[in-house]
């Protein structure tokens, strides 16, 4: 089996699931990697180190920023000439689009967000969650190449071997962009929940600290958001000690406490960290579907009857404003930070 893996990166920062895809490809046979962008030599080198037998590089100013059309056209042309049996991608906002468009070009299909892939004779059977993970579907793509985006953290990451190297093969670039990137507003909202091993999340409860006195002159809503920011600061400190990311429930996002990109759940991000600490989150079903596959779930909530406790491994019925800072201090001590 010949696999081509798309190495997804944002301004040189590789999505770690790209390496997981490379490892999966390797376990099925020979594997090539493809990298798009400008000055991507370091990424090409890392691809060899992570097990790629061959690395294709499309190094061109027109590919500096991700844009769906030229990326898809370049990938489709490469797939037509190198004839892989399978193309793998890490699942990101970019690759869902890119794989989708390339599949149209190649008259094949895309299996998204897969959590398993097995060989069955000549065909590949992919496992993917549907209905928000309430049901697992096994699907077969009869087109060629089979295309799939893998869920981050669902497959093992290969250990890099720095003695491996190779010479990258240049790829011809197609420049048929219909979209223009005008700029970035990379803000405090930048968060990558999908790859996070630890997520500490806050809900509506983060604004409920009556002992905090907001600055004078705030109306009720402003005071609520001010209180919530104090709460999320505590959550951020705990996340920091654990090298984790900050998540949020929809209630917290709707309340204006934190940007949408932090939202875990049905209309936000589905996450699978090793440790999920839910603070002041009651556990609406829409939130639970987004986090229930975390390995260990810890819930901190004042309300002992909150549904979040039905999913949690450990629970604390109490005030997050007291428990969270105590946890941060204790973790600092135990982790030697």
């Amino acid at each position: 089996m010949k696999t081509l893996v798309y190495i997804d990166h944002f301004k040189g920062e590789v999505q770690p699931a790209s390496w997981e895809a490379l490892g999966l490809g390797k376990s099925l046979g020979s594997v090539s990697a493809v990298v798009f962008g400008v000055n991507v030599d370091a990424i090409a080198k890392a691809a060899f180190e992570h097990g790629a037998d061959e690395v294709f590089v499309a190094n061109d100013p027109s590919l500096e920023d991700y844009r769906a059309e030229p990326y898809a056209s370049t990938l489709s042309a490469l797939a037509s000439s190198s004839t892989p049996d399978l193309i793998l991608f890490p699942t990101t906002a970019r690759t869902r689009e890119l794989a989708a468009m390339s599949a149209v070009d190649l008259s094949t299909g895309v299996l998204t967000d897969i959590t398993g892939l097995e060989k069955n004779g000549d065909s590949l059977i992919a496992t993917r969650p549907i209905y928000e993970g309430k049901v697992m579907e096994k699907s077969i793509c009869s087109g060629k190449p089979v295309m799939a985006t893998i869920r981050p953290r669902a497959f093992p990451k290969p250990e890099p071997d720095s003695s491996k190297s190779g010479t990258a093969t240049k790829v011809e670039v197609k420049s048929d962009a219909l979209t223009t990137v005008e700029g970035y507003a990379q803000s405090e909202s930048a968060v990558n929940l999908g790859d996070a091993g630890v997520i500490v999340s806050g809900g509506r409860g983060v604004s409920n600290n009556p002992s905090l006195v907001p600055p004078a002159g705030m109306d009720e809503k402003e005071a609520e958001i001010w209180r919530a920011h104090q709460g999320f600061t505590l959550i951020g400190e705990l996340a920091n000690v654990l090298n984790g990311a900050v998540g949020a429930s929809r209630a917290a996002v709707d309340g204006g406490y934190i940007p949408y990109s932090h939202q875990v759940g049905q209309t936000g991000k589905v996450v699978t960290p090793d440790l999920y600490i839910a603070c002041g989150i009651s556990g609406a079903i829409q939130h639970l579907v987004g986090m229930r596959n975390a390995k260990v779930i810890v819930a901190i909530n004042k309300d002992a009857d909150a549904p979040i406790f039905t999913q949690a491994r450990y629970g604390v019925v109490g005030d997050l404003f007291k428990i969270v800072p105590a946890l941060t201090t204790e973790f600092k001590k135990k982790l030697g930070k």
Binding site: A68, E69, A72, E137, S189
Partner: protein, 257 residues
């Protein structure tokens, strides 16, 4: 400006969805408009309001019963609705759905903007918007949190993992929207009355002049995920520090850090 909002009907998110004898079942739970698509309708209506002389058409592929989802879009304020329904579309996959939607969009004609939700609640792939754009040969502006039309171009603020990105494309375009577009408006009383009387045309494949797209992705098997057997262990203590000490020990013993 003619704007299309593409929607789908799915089981309510509270439904107890299960795999049962190779089928997905959801008991008596109601079928509703895909919650992400309410944002699509909201985004389309915002553009109608911002661009004089615009109309919004809600478009859906599905069985006859999916007219209820279209009526929801009409009640929110869409001007008209069209259902594409054909028994030959029972095994439709995402590429197939994109091809059928693209044909319907071309048949409607004069369309400047097609708005999708980010993904559907059932399949959840989130790739039909980009595939529809590709089939049409139009620009794709995905995951928009804000949309602005100016001088024949559409500018969106795209919400991605790394932050926000400003992207534009010339009309016509396909846009998919995320929650930041704004809370979907409630159907108005007048809207509900209008929707209940609305005549929703049903187009078949022969109306579109196309054959059923070949099914490339086939479902081989369905299974229920393993039951999560959680018995929560409530950590207690006299002080927050004592609770933290016990809890940290338990977490470290799980070896997840």
């Amino acid at each position: 400006m003619k704007i299309i909002a593409c929607i789908k009907q799915v089981p309510d998110s509270e439904a107890k969805v299960r795999a049962d004898n190779g089928q997905v079942t959801w008991g008596e739970a109601p079928l509703v408009i895909n919650p992400f698509d309410e944002y699509a309708v909201e985004g389309a209506l915002q553009q109608k309001e911002a661009n004089d002389g615009s109309t919004v058409t809600a478009l859906c592929i599905g069985p006859e019963s999916a007219k209820d989802a279209l009526k929801h879009a009409l009640a929110m304020g869409a001007d008209e609705a069209i259902l594409v329904s054909d028994p030959a579309l029972n095994e439709l996959d995402t590429v197939g759905a994109a091809r059928v939607l693209a044909s319907a969009i071309q048949k409607i004609g004069g369309v400047y903007m097609v708005v999708f939700g980010r993904q559907t609640l059932d399949n959840g792939a989130g790739i039909t918007p980009a595939q529809t754009a590709r089939v049409l040969g139009w620009g794709m502006l995905g995951l928009a949190g804000q949309i602005k039309v100016q001088d024949g171009s559409v500018h969106v603020e795209r919400v991605i993992e790394e932050g926000r990105q400003n992207v534009s494309a010339k009309l016509p375009v396909v846009v998919s929207v995320v929650q930041s577009i704004g809370e979907p408006r409630y159907p108005s009383f007048m809207g509900i009355r209008k929707a209940s009387k609305a005549n929703i045309p049903t187009w078949t494949l022969s109306d579109l002049g196309i054959d059923a797209p070949a099914t490339i992705i086939k479902r081989a098997e369905l299974a229920n995920p393993p039951e999560r057997k959680t018995a929560v262990e409530i950590i207690t203590g006299d002080t927050p520090e004592a609770i933290a000490e016990t809890l940290v020990e338990k977490i470290l013993a799980e070896k997840v850090l």
